[in-house]
Amino acid sequence: MGDKSQAIVINEKDNVATALEPLNTGAKVSSEVHGRVEEITLLSDIPMGHKFALKDMEEGEAVIKYGEPIGQSTTKIARGEHVHVHNVVSQPRGGS
């Protein structure tokens, strides 16, 4: 592992990364997962411990962390945008 990472991607299937320090809008952030390096330009301020999107997501798309769906988007989310309670809810259970 080379330079210090500012964000962590826990599982290679994840479509979000978690900030390891407070990050500002416009910052270029790189993080490594299983040897793959992701470079993202942030579209929002991301507090430490909060998530940002690694890819563009449609409304209703599964948000993946730990390789599993932690919820689904309630609106379109752009790569680099803050992903949290304002744009994600738990997935409905049963019947899906």
Binding site: M1, S5, I10, M48, Y66, I70, V85
Partner: protein, 385 residues
């Protein structure tokens, strides 16, 4: 890959070589403690139950004590009874006998008082200890290892770093043919359907869902709705978005392997790979259940710090909180805070954890062992009568 362990007559392998004193009832507990006192590698379980119990608790206490007696970290067992207790000491001995190890029973009412019982007990455990000291460690494949996992005193570093690092170590152990136990059913709430999807059979998936429903209803009956109360406002401020995310941060310490078996509290896995044991989230009851089920070693992640150990299985403490590591150096074994600093990958930390598991399984003392943390708590479902 191998560790240096003690091969037992039943083919199982120990990471430690204890003589165990089991009081069958609270009435003989102090006599048992007196027998073990001052003798190196002789441990007495602080059992205060074994009588006045009802329903499934009668079976649970026996199963747990027998599980400690049959455990491969134990070379021989002395059971100390009072005489009129509900849980007959002979019943515990019968449960241990099939392992082929030496098991003796002494009873205070038969011998005639505590003083004589302690004297006789000391004579027996000294013999047992002399026999145990003649055994040597030998190379044992990692496939014989059952690793228990636990998280306690969690903070934001647990779900982000220490649990994923332990998960990576579990995946490596499973790929070596070993076994990892995941447990703490109340902490599955919200992500139980995701764990259930990893079960090998639909029946096993249903067992996971049923176990969560049982605990959730118990908690609701006691006035606590865990699902509605989480994620708590503090969790959300810290970046946790949904209950699934919070619970996955806990579950991820078991790694990403398919679920091979679902076992009740204190039961022995019959499959290798990732196994789920239905336990409380209460740290000591959970540790006690996993050890009774045969776990020879435990990895325990913590954010805020935790001192716990078990009577016979070493517990490795892992934290990704640098402040906690520095403040509690006498309790913490491994620092994985470089993940949080962005200077180490989860995979690399997982490799370090597996190396430490092998060292500790081969005899290296953990911090909890050095501190004499022989914590033990029997899980019970009902009141005592």
């Amino acid at each position: 890959m191998t560790f240096q362990g003690y091969l037992r007559p039943d083919g199982k392998a120990g990471t430690r070589n204890y003589v165990l004193v089991i009081p069958s009832v609270g009435c003989s507990q102090i006599a048992g403690q007196s027998i073990a006192q001052g003798l190196k590698d002789v441990v007495c379980l602080p059992n205060i139950l074994g009588c006045g119990q009802v329903g499934e608790d009668r079976e649970l206490v026996k199963k747990t004590l027998v599980g400690f007696g049959t455990h491969p970290n134990v070379s021989a067992v002395l059971i100390v009874g009072n005489g009129c207790e509900q849980l007959a000491p002979e019943k515990i001995a019968q449960g241990i006998a099939p392992t082929g190890k030496r098991v003796e029973v002494i009873v205070i009412q038969d011998i005639g008082g505590t003083t004589k019982t302690i004297a006789l007990g000391k004579k027996i455990v000294k013999e047992m200890h002399e026999d145990a000291a003649r055994l040597n460690r030998e190379p044992i494949p990692l496939s014989e290892l059952i690793l228990g996992t636990e998280c306690g005193g969690s903070d934001y570093t647990s779900g982000l770093a220490s649990n994923p690092a332990v998960g990576a170590a579990c995946d490596m152990l499973v790929s070596e043919g070993g076994t990892a136990i995941l447990s703490e059913t109340p902490e599955l709430i919200g992500a139980e359907h995701l764990l259930a999807r990893r079960a090998r059979t639909p029946e096993m998936a249903q067992q996971v869902l049923d176990a969560v429903a049982w605990w959730e209803n118990k908690a609701i009956a006691a006035g606590q709705n865990i699902r509605e109360a989480n994620p708590a406002p503090g969790n959300i401020a810290g970046g946790i978005t949904t209950l699934e995310e919070k619970s996955l941060g806990c579950i991820y310490k078991g790694g990403t392997s398919p679920l091979e078996e679902f076992i009740p509290y204190a039961s022995h896995p019959t499959k290798k790979g990732l196994v789920y044991m239905d336990t409380p989230a209460h740290d000591i009851e959970q540790l006690t259940g996993m050890v009774a089920g045969g776990a020879q070693i435990i990895v325990f992640t913590t954010g805020r710090g935790n001192p716990l150990g078990t009577p016979i299985a070493p517990v490795i403490k892992i934290t990704a909180n640098r402040d906690t590591y520095l403040k509690m150096r006498d309790n913490m074994d491994i620092d994985v805070s470089k993940i949080i600093e962005g200077k180490e990958t989860v995979q690399s930390a997982g490799e370090r954890i597996l190396e430490e598991i092998i060292s500790v399984a081969s005899g290296k003392a953990t911090k909890a062992e050095k501190l004499g943390q022989r914590d033990f708590c029997l899980f019970k479902m009902n009141i005592n009568i």
